[in-house]
């Protein structure tokens, strides 16, 4: 019967209900979009790192997985690393962030192709001049360019030599020598990928390299993939917590206002229920049940809107803003919305409970 009462109350004021649900949905969407973006970016990073075909990643001393120090390693270390036991191939890349989560990678196309199995060209071909770049299909879609077109990066116009299928290291590639020239990092690389005779030797080789190259950042690719998480992106976790907090505040304020209005509008109805002997807990449960419904509706709409956000981001920036749908966060975002909604209903509920039945019945 409580459900019936709540359902009819919610249905009877569709505009208020829809607005409340929509406003509660906003923080749910915000949370899910942010988490989806983080996870999408990390998942994309994992796929791209796996696409390199390497078994070990080698970085300069103090290097971390998700940050780059341009040109922090001497390029000659690539040849040194090739002489290590079990290492059959090594290639260095020079990474330069270009804004947001994007970066351009300077590569030795022949070496990188040998390690990764080579690019699959959707359009065009490999580097032929120092001004050539390769971009993947997502970045091409994002920048709306085709092979043969121009693209401005690092204050320089590049010629798009080819468009490749995504999933290998990065979205943008330039000749290593060109990048070294532009960045003033001649003879330097940011990181070195090593391919072993057998991937099973990765842990042993990493251990041996760590002894020989103490303080350097050395990870097996499988270890690296396991370490790519929200925690490895500086301040991302804090940012997520801020968004969660904002979600709680919005949900609390919306439901509190909505239920406050509802209690005022239903003063007489509350009086009627009290005249029938409704207890305080019954009245409170009605208010809380309605808040629950609004919170639940907001959660569902918020989840649906996260799909819309994903589609919108994919349409605008598929390479820079890869968004995943993270199902495991649905209950968390829903919990935030529902918790805030229930919290917001407490004061209006207490108002309703305290109403004098005679005054409530006299309310017009």
């Amino acid at each position: 019967m409580i459900f019936r009462l709540v359902f009819e109350n919610v249905r009877h004021r569709p505009i208020r209900t829809m607005l409340s649900v929509l406003l509660i949905a906003v923080p749910v969407t915000l949370i899910l979009a942010l988490i989806g973006l983080s996870n999408g970016f990390l998942e994309d990073s994992r796929k791209r790192s796996a696409g390199v075909g390497a078994d070990i990643l080698f970085k300069a001393p103090g290097g971390s997985l998700m940050t780059f120090s341009t040109g922090a390693l001497p390029q000659k270390i690539v040849d040194l690393l090739k002489t290590e036991p079990h290492v059959v191939q090594a290639t260095g890349t020079l990474v330069q962030p270009i804004g947001g989560f994007d970066s351009i990678n300077g590569i030795d196309l022949a070496e990188f192709g040998k390690m990764s199995g080579g690019f699959t060209y959707a359009e065009g071909h490999g580097f032929q001049t120092p001004d050539d770049v390769l971009i993947d299909t997502w970045y091409a879609q994002q920048r709306k360019v085709h092979a043969g077109g121009k693209i401005n990066l690092l204050n320089r116009d590049w010629h798009v030599a080819g468009i490749v299928e995504p999933g290998k290291l990065a979205h943008l590639f330039a000749p290593l020598a060109s990048m070294q020239d532009i960045l003033g990092s001649t003879g330097k690389v940011s990181q070195v990928f090593l391919k072993l005779d057998d991937p099973k030797n990765a842990d042993a080789v990493v251990a041996a390299l760590k002894v020989k190259y103490a303080d350097y950042g050395i990870w097996s690719i499988s270890e690296m993939q396991a370490l790519i998480s929200v925690d490895s992106i500086p301040l991302l976790k804090n940012f997520i917590n801020v968004i969660l907090g904002i979600g709680v505040i919005i949900g609390f304020a919306v439901v509190s206002l909505s239920m406050y209005m509802a209690v005022l509008q239903r003063t007489r109805e509350i009086g009627i229920l009290k005249s029938m002997g409704a207890t305080k807990s019954f009245i409170m449960s009605l208010i809380m049940a309605e808040a629950f419904c609004l919170g639940f509706g907001g959660t569902i709409v918020g989840i649906l809107m996260s799909y819309v956000a994903k589609a919108a981001m994919h349409a605008v920036a598929p390479a820079s803003l890869p968004q995943a749908i993270v199902y495991t966060w649905w209950p968390i975002a829903g919990g935030v919305a529902m918790g805030a909604a229930l919290l917001g209903a407490v004061y209006p509920g207490m108002m309703a409970v305290r109403q004098d039945p005679i005054e409530a019945l006299a309310h017009e």
């Binding site: 019967m1 409580i2 019936r4 009462l5 009819e8 109350n9 249905r11 009877h12 007489r268 109805e269 009086g271 009627i272 229920l273 009290k274 005249s275 029938m276 002997g277 409704a278 207890t279 305080k280 019954f282 004098d356 039945p357 005679i358 019945l361």
Partner: protein, 239 residues
Amino acid sequence: MPDPIIKVRDLWKAYQSGRVSVQALRGVNLDVPLGEFLSIVGPSGSGKSTLFHIVGGMTPPTSGEVIVGGRNLSAVGDSGRTELRRTTVGFVFQKFNLLPNLTARDNIRTALHISGQATDVFEKDFLDILALLGIAGRLDHKPSEMSGGEQQRVAIARALATHPAILLADEPTGNLDTANSLAVLKLLRDLNERLGQTILMITHNNEAAQYADRIVHMRDGVIVETSTPAGRQALGPVV
């Protein structure tokens, strides 16, 4: 002689209006035996509504003794009065006071739910009451789809659904036209005669009061006269 179902002794009620204390009741004494149909009449400000609200457990007395259905309302708190409203009395109001978003059936079911009774199927004797009230075919309509007379009949049905010992009616014909007023009054009298339903009705309409077994006249917070309707028998059988 059995105890009256409503027993009021030296009842006083004061309202605080700003810094001024307003005495609404000044030492009311009243007994209502089980099965009686009692009208309380009086002008505005006579205290009849206050007496009604105290007997119905809507507000506590300031002093005196009020025993309703064996429960001493002077000694119980808010939860005790809530319990009284849930189990012992049923209200019928001038403005019907049906829950506007619910059908007649759901209004009745809500009362049953609150009183802790089964709500899915109406009992046989209650179905008889619905037939007597003439609303058996209107149960799936909302108040906005019903006439005032129909709404008041639904309100009576809702009040009786929980089998309360006492039906409290506050100006039940105040918002009805003459024909519907007459019908509602006859229904109340019939419920009293056929089912032995104790009814306490307040009204400022002397004609309406004539349908009761006894009329209590109030003025300035006291009972000034008790009378028996002269034409009580002349009203004839109903339905």
